[in-house]
Symmetry: C3
Subunit: 207 residues, 3 copies
């Protein structure tokens, strides 16, 4: 029998592997070698949770359990050596990426709440867990972080998911229910943004 | 009656809000949306103190008290939505920025000294508290950090302020006196640099 | 009499000073002033060990003993003011840099193993200790990290050295022997890479 904790662990490993692959794709676009691909892949995969853990003073999640690193490294190396032969449409990654975003945001928010951070900080930690890996990927690739530029809602979907988790736990609902609510809010808003081209307010609004 | 500790707290919040606004201005110049503006604003506001706290192993200052984040977020959002309509001259921010630089440098130095770091490390922590937020802002905006390039004294003004704090506390003067001395040194040198165009030594000296 | 621990300490200080100089050289190429040179020099010198210590939750190595900072600052300032007059061939730094890479990688791996991290994490910490300073230097200079781009083996030489340390300690050999083995593997592979132009696999293999 698979418990829900064990299931969550496997889903998290899949999310880490997926984020690593998106990092490798970006490294490939920049013409990096296998070292750059692994470094950018690892940073994308582990960056968000690492920043969260360092900021709230927890042991960094992948230090004592190297399974995360095995998943990230394995996925990065496989992607590096396979994706040059197999051309995959970039949009293929958007659906698992949206699921990963929702999952990481919810887990990050709950980890921060469990560490007794105030609600606004916990929400920010959730968003950081979801998006900071991608920000780090773009910095290592010498680009302005993609999610800071005008585009379909991404960090705001994570913010909505984190807000739902914080709100549902604040009114006393169970952690499981809050996790489901937050996941649906983040993933739903992200999918809606892709379907209906929802965008965040810009500095110079388009006519 | 307002105690000096309460006064300092309010001044620090004002400094955090001001730094957040300078981050939003830079994000606007890069055409970022509201997510980028908030992210760069927060990083500019909290970056210096965060790096200091992580390096010396203290709890990060804005994690347990979310007032700092409320100030930074509020200022960033207000700046994002208002500054597109109101054109403010950039030089308007130079005076409060110089005061913020002096204030953050002094408080960072004293926090590091209170954590029993050696004097050179304490001074560096003060400078980092004053300037690392701006460095992080420039990295997130994909620029070479402005304060690393030739220009009017900025980090060196912070260095002077930190040095005065370290020196005055080393010879046994009170923390209050050291704070005032360091503040005057840092702010004074920064204003003098703006008034008389004082510059740091460059790699290829200008004729 | 000089003990081996004292000898290692002096070698580490020399390595820190050397890395600081390579940072200053890059800052000079970007036209930075003395502030940028010192900042990039310090980041290059201390970046790797700092990232390692923050990730595994140790006190950052240069916080309680400011000798490292004195060495890095002294070397950075001397390099900034002297290297504009003395033109040194860049290849002159390649040999001490290879020795520093091997030394930092071995010491970082052993520090991580002593902190009871799993073997894969310990190896990564060794590589990070060896190369993250250079990555940080390139980010502060607004470049794609050099070691991520196709070129002669560098991070892979560090990986080999870290692997040898992990393997030799795993089969019960003494720490001294493992250090010597790892050092020879990393430095040897790096020198071989320079001599025979060994390169890591690239995304788009060259014909």
């Amino acid at each position: 029998m698979v418990t829900s904790a064990a299931l969550l662990y496997w889903i998290m490993l899949a999310g880490v592997a997926l984020y690593a692959i998106t990092g490798v794709l970006e490294a490939g676009r920049k013409g990096m070698d296998v070292v750059g691909a692994c470094a950018v892949g690892l940073a994308t995969a582990a960056g968000g949770g690492t920043v969260r853990d360092v900021l709230i003073g927890r042991p960094v999640f992948w230090i004592s359990d190297q399974t995360y690193m095995l998943a990230a490294f394995g996925a990065a190396l496989a992607a590096f050596f396979l994706l040059r032969f197999i051309k995959l449409p970039a949009r293929l990654f958007l659906i698992p990426d949206a699921l990963g975003l929702a999952l990481f945001t919810v887990s990050g928010t709950q980890i921060a709440l469990a560490a007794d951070t105030p609600w606004l900080v916990a929400g920010l930690m959730g968003v950081i867990t979801g998006v900071a890996g991608g920000v780090l990927r773009d910095i290592l690739c010498n680009d302005i972080p993609l999610i800071f530029l005008p585009g379909e809602l991404y960090a705001i979907a994570a913010t909505a998911g984190a807000g739902v988790v914080v709100g549902m736990q604040a009114i006393g609902l169970s952690h499981e229910l809050a996790a489901i609510g937050g996941f649906l809010a983040a993933a739903g808003l992200r999918f809606a943004a892709m379907a209906f081209r929802l965008r965040a307010p810009e500095w110079a609004p388009r006519e």
